[in-house]
Symmetry: C2
Subunit: 273 residues, 2 copies
């Protein structure tokens, strides 16, 4: 377990951190700046995922993950079936894009029923697991911060994500640890240890104080109050050695010219992750 | 355990729900509307707390709690002593105001150190417990929503509040259950059962979707996604039968003439709590 800076070759630019760029602009800027990985979003892939994957590979990059599947809870059986079908498409897209990891965001609850929605999440993953395995795409359950329980995710702690993941094949279903979502949790370090090899992704950003808002409250690493370095050492001690996605929703960063933005991301990564 | 509406005689108007009113205006409006309790904030008591208490009693009301003490974590020993002295003053104010309950909000952490700050909270409560007991003021540890971990409270779950409370005299230290802060928690019902008689206060509001923001994201009961009625039944099953504070930070409610606002609060209370 090293406590020095992480290897630059593990840095992955999550597309959302350069939200105003096209996929091509982001990939080319990564290439110029020596970044080896890119984390993709479904709504930000223009055209076919196979072509997007080719574009990314042509720039010398690999895709660390595709965001997002999940969203299983819905009020009617018909809607839930549609959500599951959408997840089949997301798995196809991940495979075509050339990544073996689909990030699952799981919520919100219809009709105020958190317990019921949490069961729907488990049923949803059960319904897509074998298809994902056939496509060689792993499913990463990402707990979101509890402030998203109302509109995005009924899975709000790493403990819940671990409980869910343990119900499935460890080769296929794991968890994503995003410091912005889990840093506040009194059980975060014991749950990271519990994850072990199930950690499929590690996302970094920082929590700004005062916070500019729920969605847009993230800053670059070092600008906020999260013990990022400690969390990185913890996921590594648990066995994670994959790409580290920098995922920053921040208006100021989005306004920054892309090469400058990526330089700032690299500096923050080397200094604070 | 009743599942009907709660008794109107248990409704307490938390002062913040009518934030644009003076204490006198709020108390008189409560009196006109048949409300029996008022929850007070230190920064909203004009002049001496003894006079404020008299004013409230003259309006025919009782004070359900005073908000807030706590805020123990600080970077230096000198600052931590100052915080403890401020809590002595808060206990004096609660006693003078005529309430036996001081609400404790506990945070944030200096220097990113959540673990250290959580220890400071325990030390802080230990330092004020016997003074509070002598003044016949109970201390209610209120876990805040994890989205306040960065700027207000390192105590973010009911489990933490219970762990803390159990380290102290049950006659003196308990917990506050605020639905807005705890509703997302997968362990909320088991932790409410665990609280038992330690529940010293129950606060209601609702979580709006989409949320207008962290602090101002609350709505009247029924306007959001929280299972308020289920939570009320749970705290009552645990043994709580005290006043229920309606604590709504909501710009629109604050702009509403006070008698209308209190009528809306009463209706929402009877229908959704």
């Amino acid at each position: 377990m090293s406590s020095g800076p992480p290897d630059l070759s593990r840095l992955s630019l999550n597309q959302i951190s350069t939200n105003n760029c096209t996929l091509e602009q982001a990939a080319e800027a990564c290439s110029r700046q020596g970044i080896c990985w890119l984390g993709a979003w479904r709504h930000k892939i223009q055209g076919s995922p196979a072509k997007a994957g080719q574009l990314i590979r042509d720039a010398g990059l690999r895709v660390s993950s595709l965001c997002r599947g999940g969203m299983f809870p819905a009020a009617s059986a018909g809607e839930r079936r549609q959500r599951i079908e959408d997840n089949f498409r997301a798995i196809d897209q991940a495979a075509a894009l050339g990544t073996d990891l689909l990030v699952l965001v799981n919520g919100p609850a219809p009709d105020r029923d958190l317990d019921g929605a949490r069961i729907m999440v488990k049923e949803g993953i059960a319904a897509i697991q074998s298809y994902a395995r056939r496509c060689k795409v792993r499913l990463g359950i990402e707990p979101l911060h509890p402030m998203f329980a109302g509109d995005r995710s009924v899975i709000v702690t790493l403990e819940q994500a671990n409980d869910l993941a343990e119900a499935f094949d460890p080769e296929c279903v794991g968890v994503i640890v995003d410091v912005y979502h889990v840093w506040w949790d009194p059980h975060v370090y014991e749950e990271i240890r519990r994850c072990g090899k199930r950690i499929l992704g590690f996302h970094v950003s920082d929590w700004l104080v005062p916070s500019p808002g729920m969605l847009m409250g993230r800053g670059l690493m070092g600008q906020g109050v999260i013990e990022i370095h400690r969390l990185r050492r913890a996921v590594e001690a648990a066995g994670f050695d994959g790409p580290i996605e920098v995922e920053v929703f921040n208006e100021q960063l989005w306004q920054t010219p892309v090469d400058d933005a990526i330089r700032q991301i690299k500096d923050a990564y080397l200094q604070f992750v």
